[in-house]
Each structure stands twice: as C-alpha cells, then as structure tokens.
C-alpha cells in the first residue's frame, strides 16, 4: 500500500513525523509522573489514561517512521536509543510540573502547571490533527483521525480543571495565573516557521499555520475568559527551540528515567 502511495502522493517527512511523535511521548512520560501521586484517585486514573493515549500516538508514528526507513529500526529505536538533542518536541512539554526553582532544588509537583500545559498543548493539537486528517499522506491521516478524538477529550478534561481552578478560590486562581505566566513564553515556539515547517511544506504536507494560530487563540481566549484569568502579553526575547533539538536541561533527566531500562537490557523482551 505504501509503495503505491509513495509514487502518487506526498508523504510526510520523517523529521515532521518524529516531531509529532516526540511531542506525544515526552508529554506522555511527563504526565505519567502523576501516577501514584494524583490529587485524587479519579484524576490519577484520568492522567494515566491520557498519558497512555499519548504514548499510543507516539508508537503509531514511530512505527510508521521505522517501516518507511526499512533499515531494521523499530518504534523502540526511536523512543529509547536517541539522545536529547535528537528529540524534536516543543520545550514546553519537557518542563517539570513546577515553577522554576534555583539549581536542582526539588519541588513538589504543581497540578496548576499540569493543567495549564495540557490546555496550551491540546488546544494546538485539536486543530492540527483536524488539518492532518485531510493531509496527502494516508498513513498520517489515519493516525490523525484516531488522535483527534483523544485530543478532543484531553482538551475537554484540561479545560474543565482550568475553569474550576482559575475561577476558584483566591489561592487556586493565583496558582493558575502563575502557571500561565510561567508557561506562556514557551508557546511562542508553536508559531516559529522554521526548518521543520519548510520541510513539511516542500513535501506537499500543507499545514496552515495561520489558521492553526487563530484556532488556538480562539480556544485559549475563550477558556481563559471563562476561568477569569488574564492572557499575558505576547512573549518577547528568547524563543525556545526544542523542535530543532535545542532543549532545556530537563529533557535529559526525563529521558534517562525513561530509557535506562531499555539501555541496560538491550533487546530484552517481556
């Protein structure tokens, strides 16, 4: 099927597929840190469910890349045997569940950061998967159709919390606004049109960046208003570059935890 398709339609470039996969895997791994530490039992299950959705999306995309590479690689090659600089996820997704601390100080996980990040990311993924459902790459379109339903639920779940905590007590509102201001600058990376986007465009994979940005703004503005939070001004200064492999110090620690077992026992089977 792929061989026939390759002659007639544009296939998504590998780097772009890895970008989508890395986003899902890194946020899935990050959110899975709540497992055993959730604020309430039901939310713990919900976060684990959604992490598994994300890991599932990553697996489908890595598997697609591996099949097309036809070089003996598997989904595990991409998840476990690449280092931080080879990951193409947005920096936003690798940040710990807490506000900045001095040095390597350990802090409690802050649910406000989790809720805010999930909202900022899924508000991007719902319209993006929607666009990719109609893309020229049939395999990616199929993955997009499956992922869209998951992302729609993730967005609904995150927005429910965002409104409850934003329009909640003084303390919860303050924490949500703090999380918003901490994470907001990292969203600038969504809108930088660089190498990845150029690659996708030259492969004929048309992702309409302007339409995406206006959909994202509409979702975010509506939910912030409902949550009585204040949208911060447009970020200035350094724009994070995770999607081209320049990451924060947090990604290596996350990957170390995720990859150590596979690297200690290469090729091990359950």
């Amino acid at each position: 099927m792929s061989a026939v398709a390759a002659d007639s339609v544009a296939l998504a470039p590998t780097d772009y597929l890895l970008h989508l996969a890395d986003n899902a895997l890194v946020l899935g791994q990050r959110n899975a840190q709540w497992c055993g530490h959730g604020p309430i039992l039901e939310e713990e299950l919900a976060l684990a469910n959604m992490s598994l959705d994300l890991v599932g999306q990553a697996r489908l995309l890595y598997d697609l890349v591996a099949r097309r590479a036809a070089d003996g690689s598997t989904e595990d090659t991409y998840a476990y045997w690449r280092d931080a600089s080879q990951f193409r996820n947005y920096t936003l997704l690798e940040l710990p569940h807490r506000s900045p601390l001095v040095g390597y100080a350990q802090g409690d996980m802050d649910f406000a950061i989790t809720v805010m990040r999930n909202t900022l990311y899924t508000a991007l993924m719902v319209p993006l998967w929607q666009q990719l459902c109609d893309c020229s790459d049939p395999d990616l379109a199929a993955i997009a159709a499956k992922s869209l339903k998951e992302a729609q639920y993730h967005l609904r779940h995150a927005c429910d919390w965002l409104v409850k905590l934003g329009d909640g007590t003084d303390s919860s509102r303050q924490r949500m606004q703090g999380a918003l201001e901490h994470l907001w600058p990292y969203t600038a990376e969504f809108w930088v049109s660089g190498k990845l986007e150029a690659l996708a465009r030259s492969a004929g994979l048309l992702v309409d960046g302007a339409a995406l940005e206006s959909s994202w703004n509409a979702i975010i503005d509506a939910v912030l208003e409902q949550a009585t939070l204040t949208r911060p001004p447009a970020p200035e200064g350094y724009v994070s570059e995770g999607k081209v492999g320049v990451h924060s110090e947090h990604l290596s620690f996350l990957l170390a935890e995720m990859q150590s077992l596979a690297r200690a026992h290469p090729g091990a089977q359950w």
Partner: protein, 99 residues
C-alpha cells in the same frame, strides 16, 4: 451550619453505564466530583477504560431514596410464598414464539 457556597467535601455521585449490547444503564459504582460535568468525565475515566460502555449517567447520591434495610422483613418477605405470581403455570402456544 456551613455556608452552602463552600463545599469542604466533594459530593458523591452514583454512576450508571450502558454497555454496547445492553439496553439499560446499570449501576457500576460511585465517585466524588465537584459538579455534574466533572462527575461525567471522571466516570468515563474510571468506569469505561476497558470499553465497558457507550453511555453514562451520573446521579447525585443524595437524590436516591432507598428502602430501609431494617424494613426488609415487612417489605419483601411476604412475597416469598406467593409462587403463583410467577408466570410459570401457563403453557405458551408455539405460534407465540419467544416472549
């Protein structure tokens, strides 16, 4: 009496799920949630993770009026010796088919 606008404890909700083949919603458990919308989301995450259902109801537990277990005798025991109330003493004609 505490102010009604501040809940220290989240209210309890009873969860009913209808399975794909099922015709009716069946009670499957309960959970705590701040409001009805959240109760639905949580019921989805807790009780339908393994494709158990295609529809969910949540009902505030306090809205359920239950019979008193102490009155079990007077409520239910009198039915025990009325076997003639079971429709087992009739022969159903074959033409009727499955009832």
């Amino acid at each position: 009496m505490s102010s009604p606008s501040v809940l220290k404890e989240w209210p309890l909700w009873e969860v009913f799920v209808r399975s794909k083949q099922g015709l009716e919603h069946k009670h499957c458990g309960s959970l705590h949630a701040a409001d009805a919308a959240q109760a639905l989301l949580m019921a989805r995450d807790v009780y339908t993770r393994r494709q158990e259902g295609v529809s969910i109801w949540v009902v505030p537990s306090k809205a359920i009026v239950a019979s008193n277990p102490d009155e079990k005798g007077e409520l239910f025991d009198p039915a025990a010796d009325k076997i003639y109330r079971h429709p087992t003493f009739y022969e159903i004609p074959e033409q009727v088919g499955h009832m």
